[in-house]
Symmetry: C2
Subunit: 252 residues, 2 copies
């Protein structure tokens, strides 16, 4: 009966390793885990929840009668950390939330009620989505081929990049003749976001469009760059396992 609790806990732990391995400074970083730190979150969430009606979340998140009440009750849990710094400091304390655009509705609802509760409105900064490796759409943890995981083996990385969606033509001849479309190419964007300088990337785009580059070459470039990156990240990730306590909001 506890299966799903263990799953939650495993994902949470793995995410924490990743966050630490990215290089956040433990002096400036506190990781809040909903289930672990719920005692700090819940009283604030209750105050938020009573100020939001079902009509509002229905309109904002598209909830319906068939939606489970776990989903309906979740937005205040997501919103509570916006006000936690004010509660901790004992005075109105503004927050800035870096998140992807799909989280935007939460902060909009939160902004609507913040001042009624005596807190400053939370501010947000939108991060860009890294595209998935598949044809369009975002990465999905339930479709492993759409993303390179920080724990992937070299073989898995080779295989995923080999099968990645590109903007290439059906045949080499056509590509040489017509050029390819870098703007829809996942390999191009992975290289641009992670490894190419802006100048290198612009040059890659030019060559791609001119038919001077074949998709296989870009894929080789991405493999050669990704494999040492992930190998290094894995080392940092191993080290992170001993650092978790330094990052937790509540160490008990």
């Amino acid at each position: 009966m506890k299966k799903s609790f263990q799953d939650v806990s495993k994902h949470t732990t793995e995410n924490i390793y990743d966050i630490i391995a990215v290089g956040f400074d433990p002096k400036k970083t506190k990781i809040l885990v909903d289930t672990k730190d719920i005692k700090r979150i819940y009283p604030i969430a209750l105050e938020i929840a009573k100020r939001i009606t079902f009509s509002t979340v229905k309109a904002v998140f598209g909830f319906q009668n068939s939606t489970n009440i776990g989903m309906i009750g979740f937005p205040p849990i997501q919103a509570a950390p916006c006000f936690l710094p004010s509660v901790i400091e004992g005075k109105p304390t503004p927050v800035l939330i870096p998140a992807a655009i799909d989280q935007d509705p939460y902060w909009r609802v939160t902004r609507d009620i913040a001042e009624k509760m005596g807190y400053p409105k939370p501010a947000q900064i939108h991060s860009k989505f890294l595209p998935g490796l598949g044809m369009q759409g975002k990465m999905s943890s339930s479709i492993p081929e759409t993303a390179i995981f920080t724990t992937d083996t070299e073989e898995a990385i080779d295989k995923k990049i080999s099968s990645a969606f590109t903007g290439g033509q059906p045949t080499v001849d056509m590509q040489r003749k017509l050029g390819a479309n870098f703007s829809i190419c996942s390999v191009f964007w992975y290289l641009r976001y992670f490894f190419d300088t802006e100048k290198e990337s612009d040059e890659r785009a030019r060559k791609c469009r001119a038919g001077e580059l074949l998709c296989g070459e870009c894929k080789c470039n991405l493999k050669d760059a990704t494999k040492p990156f992930i190998a290094d990240f894995k080392k940092k990730r191993e080290k992170a396992k001993d650092q978790v306590d330094q990052f937790l909001f509540d160490k008990s």
Copy 2:
């Protein structure tokens, strides 16, 4: 901004004193406070919440689009302690819930999902409602005249019982002639539940109906019985303040 948190906490503390003063055995009693013990409750509540739709709580509790999502998200918090003993014991552990009839819908919803979650269905035992001192209806903490509180002064007790709703006639003459209606009389039921023996109560009912008793006499009986009862309870309540730790589910 913390006003309402303090209110919750004050009511909770006062309720705990009352529970202890009633005479529960600390060896067999654990008091769970939602906000304080939420870390134990929340993971179970999440598992419950995802198995209940808005349609269900709408039908059971009469929720509407204008209902706030705090109310919509509450039933799983109420239900979670039904399964907590199973989680603590690590094996299916049945529970029996003593509660008044107004709590019945929670346990019905909980019974519907218990077996899907691998837990035994909770069982319930219905307690009787003590009627309010007003004309019909139940006691309400927001209408102090409808109830005698365990912290009331003797003057307040006198005043509340003097104004209590009875089944009496408009005049003494009419009451002597027509008799009164004990079945709707709050004073009769307080005496029957708390102080009269069954035999005494039956005799009181007979005399009331026959016009041999005036409401003032019953009110005097109730005052005389209530004042020492509350005085004694107040002493137990004072002692209870030092015993809270023994009763708390989680002492930290």
